[in-house]
């Protein structure tokens, strides 16, 4: 098991190298002068020349790349012109907000999609199968920022059930003492019920918006994988041997359907991390997505570059985690 783990870690290395090269190239092989991008729109000619020397843009490309990698190793992602803060520090403080939102969205999506897909496969052509089909077709067609706005209109403006879509916590409540950066967990650790429920109230709508978006591929693949598993010979044999319906469905069919489901979760993460940016903008969520959007509007490139790199590295790590889970779910993968 340990050797496979190391082997999988090894397979992530080319991806990380590729990602670093691309984020580097994004700033260097630009039409025009990268120094102007980094200096911002209002910089003087002198400031641009200074930045060019500072960034080492007068050196050959390979030297610039080595310097960029050296900076990365030291955790230096540059300084944001907008806020004057180091990009790494700002991303680190904002990351928990995005992570909490994305993970809650994914958990919610899995909690709805998996039972829906399983039931749809068990009762083909029943109303739940049709519901599953409608949900999966509608889910992939809805622009996530539009679903979010509709949710705000219905649940905040019309029904008044949800709080105003303005960030993670009501402005007159103070944040829980920071332990994990996840407000829900921090509030529980501090035994502060009021803050916990306020944070939960703010989280429900954006997480639900993300879940609606992630639901479709998950429900679709669960249904398809369950149908395949239920039609297979080992399920027929299990039934013929007189095993109970519950054992057949959960122990035999569902465990086999888990593999394609895990693969799809990896793919869904790619969409979720992108959709996260849009949802954060709709709900004024103070995560790294809205950080990048604010920087984009101000033509502040260092945070955008840091954001793209962080997201890519996160995504690679998530895929690695899923690969490792694969080994746990499927004993055949352990020998590979």
């Amino acid at each position: 098991m340990l050797r496979t783990t190391f082997w999988r870690l090894g397979t992530a290395v080319p991806s990380v190298v590729g990602v670093i090269i691309v984020t580097f190239l994004l700033t260097r092989v630009l039409p025009g002068d990268p120094a102007i991008y980094f200096a911002g729109p209002v910089a003087s000619a002198q400031a641009i020349a200074d930045i060019r020397r500072q960034l080492g843009l007068d050196q050959p490309l390979w030297a610039q790349f080595l310097r960029y990698v050296g900076d990365l190793v030291h955790g230096n992602l540059g300084i944001s012109l907008n806020t004057g803060q180091p990009v790494l520090a700002e991303i680190a403080t904002r990351l928990p907000a995005s992570a909490e939102l994305t993970l809650c969205g994914l958990l919610l999506a899995v909690a709805i999609a998996v039972p829906l897909g399983v039931l749809a496969a068990l009762r083909q052509d029943s109303w739940i199968d049709h519901l599953c089909r409608v949900v999966t077709t509608a889910g992939v067609s809805l622009p996530v920022f539009f679903t979010g706005l509709l949710a705000v209109y219905v649940f905040y403006y019309v029904l008044g059930w949800a709080p105003a879509p303005l960030g993670r916590l009501d402005s007159f409540l103070s944040e829980p003492p920071r332990a994990t950066g996840f407000f829900l967990i921090d509030a529980l650790l501090a035994r502060d019920g009021e803050v916990f429920f306020a944070a939960l109230g703010q989280l429900v709508l954006p997480a639900l918006t993300l879940a609606v978006f992630a639901l479709a591929p998950l429900a679709r693949i669960t249904r398809a994988a369950m149908l395949t598993a239920l039609a297979s010979e080992f399920v027929r044999t299990a039934r013929a041997a007189g095993l109970g319906a519950r054992t057949v469905v959960f122990t035999y069919a569902f465990r086999n359907a888990l593999l394609p489901l895990l693969t799809t979760i990896g793919m869904v993460f790619s969409f979720l991390l992108g959709a996260n940016v849009l949802v954060e903008k709709v709900f004024a969520w103070p995560g790294i997505g809205s950080y990048a959007v604010e920087a984009l509007i101000a033509s502040d490139f260092a945070p955008v570059q840091g954001f793209v790199l962080t997201m890519a590295i996160l995504y690679i790590l998530l895929n690695l985690l899923i690969d490792l889970l694969y080994g746990l779910v499927d004993p055949r993968m352990r020998a590979a």
Partner: protein
């Protein structure tokens, strides 16, 4: 069975046009949803081609006296903050949104299709390089990469098209590669080789035409994603600039007013966006049933 026969027919050189048509008619008759999505597609095309002439108002003309009015007989979809007619803006925006989606899909079809076919046919180094490029793109969350590309290259419609094409590249390259690899040693390819055709000629005139149907399905399926991607980019303020009518920007403009109850500013462009994506997804599924019945779910 019928399915494997249809698959075998695909692997044979493209000749069975009549039977493909019969099959298409059969699928359309059996599946009215696909027929409905064809109709919706035609409506979108009409709006894109003639929208600018049939709309009741100038999409850019503001009329502050009638700002933020709910839908009425004069303004079917209401008016926005500057009093512009939302119906006119939604219809006129069709051309830009569809144009971006079609151009980016056409671009990635050429780039990804050619790279993938070459990778599948030649194997070796070509395959390794194309595979590595595709893997590197796939290592990014796609929308995030598109944001980075547009931010770096500059805010323009051309760069949105390019970014959308780049993030779709791996999908096209992989499909083209797999389909070309299957056909590399097919009988008709060997026949073409024996009659003295060069490798480039075989690639372009023997293999490529035979994988076109499967690539066409992919184009329809990715059109929806391309529209969402472009609208998402302009929603966060990248690419297209106001006051140009575009669905993503219009939803973003409506985002400010929806919390105070003016739902129509965001609803109608959002619904247009949703319908367009829905139409292409259904169309793609329908086309896939026609071209590649085995993948039907």
């Amino acid at each position: 069975m019928g399915e494997s026969a249809a698959r075998a027919e695909l692997l044979a050189p493209a000749r069975a046009n009549t039977s493909l048509w019969r099959h298409a008619r059969h699928v359309l008759a059996e599946n009215p949803v696909t027929a409905g999505s064809f109709a919706l597609f035609l409506l979108l095309v009409l709006c894109a081609l003639f929208g600018a002439w049939i709309v009741p108002y100038d999409p850019l003309a503001s009329d502050t006296v009638h700002a933020l009015k709910p839908p009425s007989a004069a303004h079917w979809f209401g008016t926005d903050q500057l009093g512009r007619d939302i119906l006119s803006r939604v219809v006129v925006a069709t051309r830009l949104d569809m144009g971006i989606a079609i151009s980016s899909v056409a671009l990635v079809f050429v780039l990804g299709g050619l790279a993938g076919v070459a990778a599948g046919y030649f194997g070796g180094w070509t395959d390794r390089i194309v595979g590595r490029v595709a893997d590197t793109i796939m290592a990014f969350p796609l929308f995030v990469l598109a944001m980075g590309i547009v931010a770096a290259l500059g805010n323009s419609v051309g760069n949105i098209i390019l970014a959308t094409a780049i993030v779709n590249f791996p999908l096209y390259a992989r499909i083209a590669r797999a389909e070309a690899a299957v056909r590399r040693d097919a009988g008709y390819v060997q026949a073409a080789r024996l009659t003295g055709n060069g490798e480039g000629r075989i690639l372009l005139f023997t293999i490529l035409p035979n994988i076109l149907p499967i690539m066409a399905v992919q184009m329809s399926l990715t059109m929806g994603y391309a529209i969402l991607n472009a609208a998402g980019l302009s929603f966060v303020g990248l690419g297209i600039r106001p006051p140009t009518p575009e669905w993503g920007i219009m939803v973003a403009e409506g985002a400010g007013t929806i919390v105070s109850g003016e739902w129509w500013v965001a609803l109608f462009p959002g619904a247009a966006l949703m319908l367009a994506v829905f139409c292409f997804n259904l169309l793609g599924d329908g086309l896939r049933d026609i071209v590649d019945p085995q993948r039907r779910t």
